[in-house]
């Protein structure tokens, strides 16, 4: 999130699209309710009517997967009716930038597409620069090559008729939605977006969110109270795990995983450190070498960063198509690796195309499964259609402690790092994950010491003792290591920091190896005290006006509660909306008051979007793999053979695997299906299916269908039905409900159904199996996330 949970209360219009927070983030509904009591309009756009819709002021239905049509239509509506927040757009976004003549767009493809590689050459999407290397701008927004004009041209195609025709959302509803949301393009109004997996889990997942980011920039909604782009994370600490680099493409603190071609730290730094020639651009990532060196020193304190860089694992070209979840299981299914840790995850149920995943597990020699309870992954060899006699995989199950049985921090969606203490002792022989990892590492290190082996140095020289106290894993020591410390006396300005002192903030990190920091974003979290453990409601009157609570827990970066907050002020530092000021410039004292600002500089000295190279919010986004503007494409499995925006039916860069068929206008699989969650279960249900009071409330796999489809298929409410796709089939109890409705798409009646993904064969025995038996292994070209929110199925009475 750019903002935080409490901040929802400050919004004038809360758009909920691609999420179902009343059900899946129930605690946050308190703040949505508060906003409503203050007069906010809550709009829910979703293929279903959910518990969220029941509480929203407006609810509109769209066919799953058609979001970019609806959002592109909103951009068109905003531009055609000139509803942008012009001062913001001109001063803070790249709308005025001139784009190079090499850029173009024709029939669904951007310039630079290589059909063979199914990839773009992004050098075609650069900005024009002047003699000093600074992007050329036209603040009047009239130049036909400026981003604003290119944007206008791109989305002029997204008229109401076309959008309604493909999304199934009636024209009147579209106008109501656009009107309600575009009303936040005023200086004293704030609109926010709450999204979740309903947007990410598509082959255009990243572009769904990009489209909304662009709308937020056009309306001046980034950096302000009650605004922002807010991802509701699906797991209490998934923000923390992303921050700490639990993905293939990033190290902790969003440092790119080194590519194999970058054979030295110097080359890595050169490649990954953006350079801006504009003195007003803070270009914060210019500090990357400091963060990388400090990270390397946190791993290997006694070794020079240049040397320890060579020990980091490197990735070959191919990106998410080669390394993400889907690729991992594709490689496993081809027997390309032998050992596997399934740690706190249940891929036999959680990954798309679960049958493929389950079969792949049988190709392993060994698997270590760390979890609370018996689960479909560790016990896959006992599962449906498996013959244990023919499966060689040796499985080691390590029971781990539950979250309440261990101490440590979690980082919530609002980037708050919150310390938690252990409640009851771990049950039986189960251990906290940190202890399991520590024991494992000690054993591995001992084996390397004894038996040597290839490239043993990184294992032998790792500064492992820094995570320990008396030889045991210690969450406090680890949190301190993540914060970082000075390795020798360092003078910064007129202050001397002593060797061994904790670094007070990432501003003090050094590129020469004199500081450590396991994650630069967390520098400042654990200094002389553990700030994540702060529970003080004290705040200034400015902070109280918007509920910032800066002394309650700690938030990355540097306790800044709202990102890009300098954009909440006009270029002189005066808040656009004084009543809900996030920061404001005190000219007399020459400092900002309110939230921690995005840098201490005077308002005119630096542009507010400090994390982008140029310092401007990116309406034109030249960095993604599938284009600088979101473009409409159908899901890889879809019920139509064409759409009105181009001849390019699907995202041309989407991840797919050879030999896996897709149902496109396949009469055997005529219905659109989406997977989702219910309040009562968590993830694949590996925890919640074992909790009697929760399984009592949602006991069995169900399939929600409309009364119209029920009639068509002769299904009565409560009947058992079979839901099938090209990849598998499962049984479910039919919930026939007017909360689902057929869509009119291109003049045809289309049905959509929905199934939860919480069930699995292992428990309860009459609970059903995983929704992912049906979903396809296709994914977004940027993140690799699978498209489980829109695929094609059949439903018939069992």
């Amino acid at each position: 999130m750019t903002n935080h949970w409490i901040d929802f209360q400050n919004s004038d219009c809360i758009l909920i699209m691609g999420s179902n927070p009343a059900e899946n983030h129930p605690i946050c509904w308190k703040w949505v309710t508060k906003a409503q009591e203050r007069g906010s309009t809550v709009v829910h756009v979703d293929p279903r009517f959910t518990r969220t819709s029941a509480k929203a002021d407006m609810h509109f239905m769209l066919r799953s997967g058609s979001d970019i049509a609806v959002l592109g239509g909103m951009i068109n509506y905003i531009l055609s009716n000139d509803l942008i927040f012009k001062d913001y757009v001109v001063n803070y976004t790249n709308a005025s930038f001139l784009v190079s003549g090499k850029f173009g767009f024709k029939d669904g493809l951007f310039a630079g597409y290589d059909a063979q590689k199914r990839a773009y050459d992004k050098s075609n999407w650069a900005f024009e620069v002047d003699a000093d290397g600074v992007p050329k701008k036209d603040p009047t927004l009239q130049d036909p090559r400026c981003v604003y004009q290119l944007l206008k041209k791109h989305y002029a195609r997204y008229d109401l008729k076309k959008v309604a025709g493909i999304s199934g959302m009636p024209k009147d509803d579209l106008v109501k939605l656009y009107k309600a949301y575009a009303a936040t393009g005023k200086r004293d109004k704030a609109g926010t977006i709450l999204y979740a997996m309903g947007w990410t889990q598509h082959t255009v997942g990243v572009q769904n969110i990009r489209a909304m980011c662009m709308i937020q920039l056009l309306l001046g909604n980034i950096g302000i109270a009650g605004g922002g782009v807010n991802a509701l994370r699906g797991e209490s600490n998934v923000q923390g795990s992303t921050d700490q680099g639990l993905l293939f493409h990033i190290l902790p603190g969003y440092l790119p995983t080194p590519a194999s071609a970058l054979n030295s730290l110097a080359v890595y730094n050169e490649k990954n450190t953006p350079v801006s020639k504009d003195p007003k651009s803070a270009n914060w990532w210019q500090n990357r070498p400091k963060y990388m060196a400090s990270f390397l020193k946190s791993m290997w304190e006694e070794t020079e960063p240049e040397q320890s860089y060579s020990w980091l694992p490197k990735i070959d070209p191919g990106g998410s198509g080669a390394y993400s979840w889907l690729a991992l299981f594709d490689k496993m299914s081809k027997g390309q690796f032998k050992g596997f840790f399934a740690w706190g995850m249940n891929p036999a149920c959680s990954g798309a195309n679960a049958n493929k995943t389950r079969k792949a597990l049988a190709n392993l020699d060994w698997m270590v499964n760390v979890n609370l309870f018996e689960n479909e992954t560790g016990w896959f060899w006992q599962g449906p259609d498996m013959d244990p006699k023919t499966i060689k995989t040796e499985v080691f199950f390590l029971p781990c402690a539950a979250s309440i049985e261990k101490e440590g921090s979690i980082t919530n969606s609002g980037r708050w790092m919150q310390w938690r203490y252990a409640g009851p002792s771990p049950y039986g022989e189960s251990k906290p994950d940190g202890d399991i990892i520590a024991h494992l590492f000690k054993e591995i290190q001992a084996l390397y010491k004894k038996e040597k082996g290839v490239l043993s140095e990184p294992i032998l020289k790792a500064t492992w003792n820094k995570t320990n106290k008396h030889g045991e894993f210690d969450p406090h020591a680890t949190a301190k290591l993540i914060n970082g410390a000075f390795l020798k006396d360092v003078t910064i300005g007129d202050k001397v920091y002593k060797k061994g002192e904790q670094v007070p903030s990432f501003a003090m990190l050094q590129a020469d190896g004199s500081t450590t920091s396991g994650n630069w974003l967390y520098a400042g979290s654990y200094t002389d005290k553990n700030k994540a453990a702060l529970r003080d409601t004290k705040q200034t009157s400015e902070q109280a006006a918007i509920g910032l609570f800066p002394n309650w827990s700690w938030c990355w970066p540097v306790n800044r509660r709202i990102l890009y907050n300098r954009a909440s002020c006009d270029p002189t530092g005066k808040p656009w909306n004084q009543a809900k000021a996030v920061v404001s410039w005190n000219a007399a004292d020459k400092k900002w008051i309110g939230d921690v600002p995005d840098g201490p500089w005077a308002p005119e000295a630096k542009y507010p979007f400090i994390m982008t190279k140029e310092g401007f919010g990116q309406i034109f986004g030249p960095g993604l793999n599938d284009g600088p503007f979101p473009e409409y494409y159908e899901p890889l499995e879809c019920p139509v053979s064409g759409h009105p925006f181009s001849k390019q039916l699907h995202n041309p860069t989407a991840i797919a695997f050879e030999g896996e068929d897709k149902a496109v206008c396949d009469p055997r699989y005529p219905f659109v299906c989406s997977t989702y969650r219910v309040t009562e279960h968590w993830q694949t249900g590996v925890l919640t299916r074992w909790l009697p009071w929760l399984i009592e409330a949602e006991p069995q796999m169900f399939c929600e269908i409309s009364p119209e489809l029920a009639k068509l298929r002769g299904i009565a409410n409560g009947d058992k039905v079979t839901v099938s796709s090209l990849r598998g089939s499962l049984w479910a109890v039919a919930i026939v409900t007017p909360r689902l409705k057929p869509f009119k798409v291109q003049g045809q009646t289309l049905h959509q159904v929905g199934i939860p993904w919480h069930f699995g064969w292992i428990h309860p025995k009459d609970g059903g199996d995983s929704a992912n038996l049906l979903s396809p292994s296709v994914g977004d070209p940027n993140t690799g996330i699978p498209e489980t929110k829109a695929f094609m199925v059949n439903v018939r009475k069992a």
Binding site: A22, R51, T52, P699, V736
Partner: protein, 241 residues
């Protein structure tokens, strides 16, 4: 002191069922073996082991879908008809300090049909084996220790509130005034007669037939009509605010 009351603002209830689960957790009540019957409501009804159940009700009004949620429980009537209908001393207690209506194991000696029939909200349930009856007891153990009832403590949205009756009535009136701007038909259900005051945004029957006591309700058990007619007089005079 006018005892305690709940105020339940249904405009804020999202049917997260935190109250349903926390009730079972505090009371250490076992889960029932349930199946999906084509509804999210589960267990399907109150039982000896389910003292609180969130009822889900779908309606289509002029082509628009509406979904109503009711966390159903004992209303702790100001003049409890169940107690008036009881014939065994000590089986149903009416706590003076809080106003809580509490069933004891002596309810096993009562005639269940009479007790259940006396309740205008159809709350009491019976253990088929021991014949003991059960229902919500206002978490009187918690309340006496200065704590909130488990369901109120758990509610994330502010739908469930608990406190001194006078304060709850004030809060109810204030909330009603706010909710009426959006929902002109909003009303407090039987507020003068119960200690669990629901704020409904529409007709109470949209939520469940038993949300509001019906003045015209027919007796379930004709043979005891006279007795019950007399006992139910206070209930029949209940009106919505």
């Amino acid at each position: 002191m006018n005892g305690k009351s709940f105020f339940v603002d249904l405009s804020k209830c999202t049917a997260c069922r935190g109250c349903q689960v926390s009730c079972k957790q505090w009371k250490k009540l076992p889960a029932e073996k349930t199946v999906n019957t084509g509804s999210h409501q589960n267990p399907a009804d109150l039982s000896f082991n389910t003292l609180k159940v969130v009822r889900f009700s779908e309606r289509v009004d002029k082509g628009k879908v509406r979904w109503f949620f009711l966390p159903d429980q004992c209303r702790h009537c100001v003049e409890p008809p169940c107690k008036m209908a009881s014939s065994v001393e000590g089986s149903i207690l009416h706590d003076q300090a809080t106003g809580a209506v509490v069933f004891t194991p002596l309810t096993a000696q009562e005639d269940f049909e009479i007790i259940r029939g006396a309740c205008p909200y159809d709350i009491p349930r019976q253990d088929p084996v021991t014949k003991v009856m059960s229902k919500c007891d206002m978490c009187i153990d918690r309340v006496r220790a200065g704590m909130l009832p488990a369901c109120v403590k758990t509610c994330p949205t502010g739908a469930m509130n608990f406190g001194d009756r006078d304060e709850m009535l004030k809060l109810a009136q204030k909330s009603l005034a706010g909710v009426k701007k959006k929902w002109p038909k909003a009303q407090l259900v039987n507020a003068d007669d119960v200690r669990v005051i629901f704020l409904a945004v529409e007709e109470p029957e949209f939520y469940a037939k038993t949300l509001m006591a019906q003045a015209s309700e027919q007796m379930r058990f004709a043979t005891r009509r006279d007795l019950l007619a007399q006992l139910l007089r206070p209930v029949r005079s209940m009106t919505s605010v």
